[in-house]
Symmetry: C2
Subunit: 227 residues, 2 copies
């Protein structure tokens, strides 16, 4: 488990949540493994309480399953939950990119374009950095539309999806993500909701290809009943 330093303005609970989430997405905590509150509390140098509260929040998205008096099971990669997370993102963000065509100011477009410059720079250099930039790109679209609370809810559930997306970045070679993002950004800039919708859906459709590769390559992490 990777333990970054605690940020100054972060509560212990937020710190625990951040570190555990990170390690689940990066697979440094293995899908299907059991983790105990005390065990994590020891690693992070905290008491059980903030760790308990962080795990409670994670359990809301079913990324962990708290089994009372037994322990905390980190979920296997579950195609049903990924399908739900992906449905939610596609549905919500498709509507958002359309709205963004009216809502986006010049400064917003600049923010997106600056992000895309950095994406190009880091794509082949630093996978984790790129992953964060990708997340920021999507988050900016929520912000443009004044839907930050929706972002929080969708993002919490997206962790299932993120875990696979992170694997993709490390495994799948043919990455067209940045040009997809450019197409979305250009459509918003051109105030063309039809093009924005199309570009976004094309972007999200790539996942099907990745999933085919990932699901073969990481069989041991994928729960039964999926393919």
């Amino acid at each position: 488990m990777i333990v970054p330093p605690k940020n100054p303005n972060e509560t212990n609970r937020e710190y625990a949540f951040r570190v555990i989430s990170m390690n689940i997405i990066s697979l440094d905590i293995e899908p299907g493994s059991m983790i105990g509150e005390q065990e994590i509390a020891n690693v992070l140098g905290l008491s059980r309480t903030p760790v308990h509260e962080a795990l409670l929040e994670l359990s809301k998205s079913k990324i962990v399953d708290i089994l009372p008096q037994k322990g905390c099971l980190v979920s296997m990669i579950d195609s049903d939950l990924i399908r739900e997370a992906r449905f939610l993102r596609i549905t919500v963000e498709t509507a958002l990119v359309e709205d963004a065509c009216e809502m986006a100011k010049e400064a917003d477009i600049n923010e997106l374009e600056e992000n895309l410059q950095l994406q190009e720079f880091y794509l082949s250099k630093d996978t984790d950095k790129f992953f964060n930039l990708d997340n920021e790109f999507h988050k900016t679209i929520y912000r443009i539309c004044n839907k930050m609370q929706c972002y929080y809810m969708v993002n919490l559930m997206s962790i299932h999806f993120d875990r696979v997306r992170n694997l993709s970045l490390h495994s799948v070679k043919d990455l067209k993500i940045v040009s997809d993002h450019h197409a979305i950004c250009d459509a918003i800039k051109a105030k063309d909701p039809v093009a924005a919708r199309a570009a976004f859906q094309k972007h999200m459709a790539r996942f099907e290809l990745d999933w085919n590769i990932i699901s073969r390559e990481y069989k041991q992490y994928i729960s039964d009943g999926s393919k």
Copy 2:
């Protein structure tokens, strides 16, 4: 504050969450009021711990705002958060009713129709019962489409919307909700996604009218900047 009995298989945390949510929606806990963990713990006969955890979960949807070392502020009725909650529901459930046209089995249609029978029965008799049936109707649509995790996430945020919806049921006389539901159900039964989408959007559009009435009638509960 109304305190129903604790269900047998419910943890104290779940009980606290259920009771506090209920009282926020029913306005038995007033918008803008401060509540303390100890105070609620006393009323429910619990310790602070499960109450604290319940409030943490509620704070995720911003329906309460935990101010460290000060207290817990129950949010005013906030048009921005309602707009977000409503956007999320409309966006997600519009997509769902379309999918439901393919997914719904005969048993599912029966479940919806049985629910509608009860809605007609209780509409003028028992507002709270009707409110629950309305919720169940929407929940069933998620279940038909195998999107229960999405239901949980959308529902958590919907509490802002629910608080006003509950006021509507008590204040707004001209209720066409049941016939709306019938139209949605009939479209799903006829496997007509275009009609289902239209019926659902017509249903959700009613809220604008209600909001105009509510926002005048309950000004004291509505946060500044809204109209």
